[in-house]
């Protein structure tokens, strides 16, 4: 078995230290004042090491946010698509209320319109995989007869996530449990799900 030389492998310890340092600095100083220098100093790694793995502080925070989002929003399958979508959306909404994740994600989104590399990374690392998983969960509900065949599943995903983004970027109050339940029920009804 061939292992790459250690200089080419990203140490998991360094990776975690870097992500945690970036999140801590984001909490303390706000997204705008986080720098690669400060992340490196806090994490006890060199700037060179950080730049070897991430092109920008936005990319560091994107990876930290994605890790947290994946943990907070599992696509469980209890056999009840309504309950599982409520759990999923509530997980995302809750994460956005926990500093520094909400402000960090707002900071990442704010850089997208002038940072094409970050925009591509967000698409490849966060948005596309999450949408794919969401569609897969809806498809398994379809297989179980909870969503009619032929339903527009990608549109359903946009209708679920859209209002979360809408409130987040406009800094509106986040959705409470009741509002999330109403959203999920409306989306399922729009697909023609029996019982909604």
């Amino acid at each position: 078995m061939i292992t790459p030389p250690s200089s080419l492998r990203r140490s998991e310890r360094s990776r975690r230290a870097t992500l945690q340092a970036a999140l801590d600095l984001c909490t303390e100083k706000g997204y705008g004042r986080v720098t690669i220098e400060a992340i490196a100093a806090r994490a006890g790694v060199s700037k060179k090491t950080i730049y070897r793995w991430w092109p920008s502080k936005g990319a560091v925070l994107l990876e930290a946010f994605t890790d947290a989002l994946v943990d907070a929003t599992p696509f469980v399958d209890t056999g009840d698509i309504g309950a599982d979508l409520r759990t999923h959306v509530a997980g995302a909404v809750k994460l956005l209320t926990v500093p520094p994740f909400g402000p960090a994600y707002a900071g990442i989104l704010s850089e997208l319109h002038h940072d094409d590399v970050l925009a591509q990374a967000l698409k490849d690392q966060l948005v596309d995989p999450r949408v794919e998983e969401a569609v897969a969960r809806l498809r398994s509900a379809q297989d179980q007869g909870q969503i009619p065949p032929g339903a527009n599943l990608p549109l359903a995903v946009e209708m679920l996530y859209g209002p979360v983004y809408y409130r987040h970027v406009l800094r509106k109050p986040v959705q409470d449990e009741e509002t999330i339940a109403a959203l999920v029920a409306h989306v399922l009804r729009s697909l023609g799900s029996p019982g909604y």
Copy 2:
């Protein structure tokens, strides 16, 4: 009739010149490089005049964007709520594809998380009035029997606007006519509208 002294009235000519200068600079240089100095020079007004009426370049561009949005997305009432919502959403989507409006709005949104004054202005000048008008249009459809009584109209507005924001902030391709029609049909079906 008492008129305020001219120094306290905002000249409509100066206002329009300022807004147009801000939009032109946004097209030429991108949102990030627009400055109050450059807007003043281009519009032929003093910086002092601009700061008398707007606290920041974001506020100038917000007013310019809001004027354009109001023009582009009238709440018509042809008696067919589906057709009118398609027209409305398509107007907003189209505006976001026209430089400098899409990038200008992305720039404004990107400042919200560190500019409380701009966030409040966006809420007061753009979001709340537009949501109110949208709910009013849905309510008139309700009066005409096209939407059942008791339907959750504010949620419907979020389901319509949410996906537009979702695509805009994530820099996804904008919705085409067919996708907008599917969205509107799903939202109306979710409300229990007859015929959807």
